[in-house]
Symmetry: C2
Subunit: 365 residues, 2 copies
């Protein structure tokens, strides 16, 4: 199609992820256990669910463009002025808009080899040039990220803390030290999608008005609202205001706005989910150990199980589990791809994983 | 902020629309009648509403990236292969992605002076150069649009049929004739947000594989799902597939996908809404006539009332109504701005409009 603008014309047709429903259609049957997308099968707060059901009565109205009520609630919850808060269509949507705002054609961006593919997709989508550094000890490597950023004159550096897909994390002091060593004119994206699962020691105290960083958080993980498509960013007010130049102002679903607000207020449910996830991590680790796999430490709602084999084995195992009705994913590149990644879930689904994992392994020998 | 990429750095801070909740916050009290955003206060299908309430139970799951089930239902409903159908976050989201896909910096785009501001926002947002032609007899002017497109070498031409904000429409034959006269390498965007309210004679028969046009439709208007953020595009398969290069694949809310599907299947409710809207148009016209205003013919869910005065008067009237608890909008440019625009709604809200309109007029004399 010659009619496409130059950047889209140059892009491949690939998409970052194939979702579980698409895999189910290809297989011709549903999964018995959905453990691949780091969703929360523990579900959202029952209070939030009720508020969402009630909000259906107002679905004929467009949502509130500034998501005022949710931003006020976040402001109170976080102790941050609402001018530093932006609500958007999940971190995926926020990352797309951030890249659009900052990255012009040819601009350098630094991330880790094997980190979040959707971020890379957005960078390519706006003509940015990606530079990747390897993980170190199964964690994103702040020193290497900074060195490369300086070397290539990066406008953005991406760090997920805790990390996906490995579940590793850095102490808050490592992140704040990164800020102090960030090259001038380079912005750190701190993706905190899994922050609610992390120990407090991994959550840096950063002034909301710090212009060196933008933090991204979501209601998709611990708050159990992945299908609602809602998340938020914390950043300096000029950067946050800048999104109004490009964002789809009425793009957030009205039910999502209400659900996120009530979910935020129900911190008791959040604590229940975090505890359930911690127990599920232990359970997944035990299942792994029973099958000769080592669980990597995780500060998220998933566990990377080290198969002790190579990427080809992991890939085959993911396929064999899929054939047996278990949806999981795995890191995309070596050496991370010696692992498979299992999302935390209630016991019903983990019991299915426990049953099918040895069958899947046996099928490969 | 020097850190913004060149295009965003050049953009103004303006946003296309101020929503009613924002106006309510400024006023310090809620509106009594919400007649400004062409939402459907008749609401969605009760079956769709029930399905959405039930879908809350699955909100912890991401939506299906290709919106497969909805696309299949649209395919059946429209008699169009699903490869020609794209589901996205409302027409606003679809327009943004379309512009991004087609318009590079400096590319020419043609629309009408006073037509949909959000489209213009997207064109500016990707560095396109907008060329505007005037309305003719309160309708978008196909001849003038084509002439200008040819003159400036436009990549996109925008036509809403029926039109917003005037409610006017063209016969299907006018639209198909436009296609035949479209310059090569120019794509027609046919915005059919209000198509369900239009007479059949205004709905062109265009082959889905016609590469000259992309049609945009929504569940926000007749289907009463504005807050759900879901719409669809019909276009040739290469163009539709192209969106996968840039779109936020998991960006559509899961409840919206289910609600739209059930709403589509409940054509009985749609017919009820369309009949209710027709009655409301007559009622608005009568209220206008009672106050010395002429209703323009409308094939939409709103009515433009010609005040017989100028834009300054209309603007003052919109403000006076707002102060009296009635939210309406108006066209932005002369000579269209001699009109005010009233969204159709149930009698309760129209009765409030009937009561407050003469008060608002009297306050200006």
């Amino acid at each position: 199609m010659t009619r496409f603008a130059p950047i889209p014309a140059s892009l491949p047709q690939t998409v970052p992820f194939t979702g579980p429903e698409e895999l189910e259609r290809r297989m011709g049957r549903p999964f018995d256990a959905r453990l691949g997308a780091n969703e929360s099968a523990f579900g959202p707060s029952p209070l939030a669910a009720r508020a969402m059901r009630e909000a259906v009565a107002e679905i004929w109205k467009y949502g509130d463009a500034p998501s005022h009520d949710l931003r006020q609630a976040l402001s109170t919850h976080l102790g941050i002025d609402a001018a530093h808060l932006l609500v958007g269509e999940g971190i995926d949507g926020l990352l797309g808009n951030l890249v659009r705002l900052i990255v012009g054609p040819g601009d350098a961006v630094v991330t880790s080899e094997g980190a979040y593919p959707t971020f890379n997709y957005h960078v390519a989508g706006f003509g940015g040039v990606l530079h990747k550094v390897p993980y170190r000890d199964d964690a994103e490597d702040p020193e290497a990220l900074l060195d490369r950023a300086r070397q290539v004159g990066a406008k953005l550096v991406y760090l997920a803390n805790p990390d996906n897909p490995m579940g590793s994390w850095h102490d808050a002091s490592v992140v704040t030290a990164m800020l102090d060593r960030l090259p001038p004119d380079c912005l750190l994206i701190l993706d905190e999608a899994y922050v609610e699962f992390a120990p407090q020691s991994a959550v840096p105290r950063i002034a909301a008005e710090d212009p060196r960083v933008i933090r991204m958080r979501t209601f998709s993980k611990a708050y159990g609202l992945a299908g609602a498509r809602i998340g938020y960013a914390i950043g300096d007010r000029d950067l946050i205001a800048g999104f109004d130049r490009i964002r789809n102002h009425f793009g957030v679903n009205r039910i999502a706005q209400i659900g996120a607000l009530v979910a935020l207020l129900d911190q008791g449910w959040l604590a229940h989910v975090v505890a359930s996830v911690a127990a599920a991590r232990d359970r997944i680790a035990q299942i792994g150990a029973d099958n000769g796999m080592r669980a990597l430490p995780s500060a998220t709602n998933f566990v990377a199980l080290d198969t002790g084999r190579d990427g080809a084995f992991s890939r085959a195992l993911v396929g064999a589990l899929q054939e047996r009705g278990v949806f999981i994913r795995m890191p995309g590149v070596a050496p991370l791809d010696r692992c498979i990644r299992i999302s935390c879930a209630p016991e019903t689904e983990l019991a299915i994983f426990e049953e099918r994992l040895p069958q899947a392994i046996a099928s490969l020998e």
